[in-house]
Amino acid sequence: MNDLIPEFDFARVFIAPWADGAQTFIWIALMGFFVAAACGLVGNYLILRRMALVGDAISHSVLPGIAIAFLLANSRSTPVMFLGALVAGILTTVIIEVIHKKSRVKQDAAIGIAFSTLFAIGVILISLYADKVDLDAECVLYGEIAFVPLAPHVQMFGLPLGPEPVVRMGFVAALTLLLIILFYKELLVSSFDPGLAASLGINAGVMHYALMSMLSVVVVSAFESVGAILVIAMLILPGATASLLSQRLPVVLLLSGVHGALSSLLGIHLSIWLECSMAAAMVVMGAALFVLAWVFSPGAGLLATWLSRRSKPVRLEAAPQPAYGR
């Protein structure tokens, strides 16, 4: 048994990182939190609009986006990559819309066509120009959050802020939050009832593409640390977990932030224990939290449902008055 799973040593797993390596781990934890928070916030709206798979699609089309941007600009600078991925992300949503609207193909199939094709093009481009494109496909797919603290630190107004990817992700997370607060009611009504939204003069198309652009920005900034494949988990898990615990959108949004922070922290410790990929450990912890919520949610959890079915009839409130159209 001991050969299969490394021994669990509380001091090594939970205390040592913060005692010896706080400088390193604080950045990793922050990065994990920013990624999960930004993804979780946008992801909530994807779930509400039943578009969770679009997040998957965009995260895959990022690969050809950065490959093409790299070939065109011949630079690995962040803005170039960012732009390439952003254009690819928005293009993906446009392609999905066009296939879905202009042919008989349903949206889920259109998503499958769009992202696998774009991803394949990315793979071809990278292998064609392998000598020119100095991209590590492995890193694009799985990311490397453990290297984040090693990135050059940035300063602002002479104040040291932190490693560049962490600062950027923090900025993106803050921007996402700000936009969601500012356009809360527009996002709400266009997600709940597009018909009413349009009649109120809120352009559902504009909202759709605004959300998709935001999603692309979030995915692009997240993917270098968690990779294109794990980012989908970050998009869905926080919102899905939170939706099991509350039925009020503001609370759901808040809870998905809490979920992000917890899965980031717990993920770090899991990966130290198992000596495995940190991003993967964060996702696994996020999924564990989801299962916990599923079982223990006070309202709709498995346990609550089971108990209420099993228990003797509870004492009810006073007998109801007849409804009479109430």
């Binding site: 709940f192 349009a198 009020r248 959108l249």
Partner: protein, 257 residues
């Protein structure tokens, strides 16, 4: 300025889904202050008509004017009650949140609903007897209650022209008559309402005017003039069993009166 303009004017309105026309050359001039029924069989294009008029669907030809103005300029004056099935009732919002959505059109970008908006929303909920449910999550409502939440939301829009898609589906008789009273009240205040309705005998009672629709406009006029066997035959394509039931019902009503 446009006080006497028709509430709604359509000219040669044609609407198609994927090149297949479902509404063809509709000409219509709806006066203000009337309660109007839209009647026709399933698939006749009733919902499509409402959506096209509200700019939710592209129109292939023709034009729409609302209070003598192009649609864009008069969106503020239109209220909407969609078919109940058109939204996801598991959405994490409360009854109050949904009714407040009716106020969004007046708020403009970024602004939050004010205390006053909440007051209006509360008053509208009271009118449909749903105030005690204000804080409920919407999935915990019965079908008829959901329908009344939509109605309260439309009231909160404080519009002059209302489109209601089957507001009576799934409500009990008492609620139905309560809603009708409410609609009459709105009419007294000069509002115009276009209501999709499936039950022919009651359609005859409820509405001042009827739009008989089946891909084309079969007839439009005061209920007493267009609720005839012949025009209904044309609208429902001679589905005689239904129509004879209606004729039966109509006869019975005559006897009762």
């Amino acid at each position: 300025m446009h006080d006497t303009a028709p509430a709604l004017e359509l000219h040669d309105l044609t609407v198609a889904y994927h090149k297949k026309p479902v509404l063809w050359g509709i000409d219509l001039e709806v006066p203000q202050g009337k309660l109007i029924g839209i009647v026709g069989p399933n698939g006749a294009g009733k919902s499509t008509l409402i959506k096209a008029v509200m700019g939710l669907l592209p129109i292939s030809s023709g034009w729409v004017k609302v209070f003598g103005q192009p649609l864009k300029k008069s969106l503020q004056r239109i209220g909407y009650v969609p078919q109940r099935e058109s939204v996801d009732w598991d959405f994490p919002v409360s009854v109050m949140d949904v009714v407040l959505m009716g106020r969004y059109g007046r708020l403009g970008l970024i602004k939050r609903p004010t205390k006053e908006d909440r007051e209006v929303a509360r008053a509208c909920l009271e009118k449909v007897h749903m105030l005690p449910y204000a804080n409920r999550q919407i999935s915990n409502l019965s079908g008829g209650q959901q329908q009344r939440v939509f109605l309260a939301r439309a009231l909160a829009q404080e519009s002059d022209l209302y489109f209601m898609d089957e507001p009576f589906s799934g409500v009990d008789a008492a609620t139905e008559s309560a809603i009708i009273t409410l609609l009459h009240e709105l009419r007294e205040r000069g509002k115009t309402m276009l209501v999709v309705h499936h039950d022919l005998p009651t359609a005859r009672e409820y509405f001042d005017m009827l739009i008989l629709l089946n891909m084309r406009l079969v007839a439009f006029g005061p209920t007493s003039e267009v609720f005839t066997n012949e025009l209904l035959q044309t609208t429902y394509g001679g589905r005689l069993t239904i129509l004879s039931d209606v004729a039966e019902a109509v006869k019975e009503q005559r006897i009762l009166r």
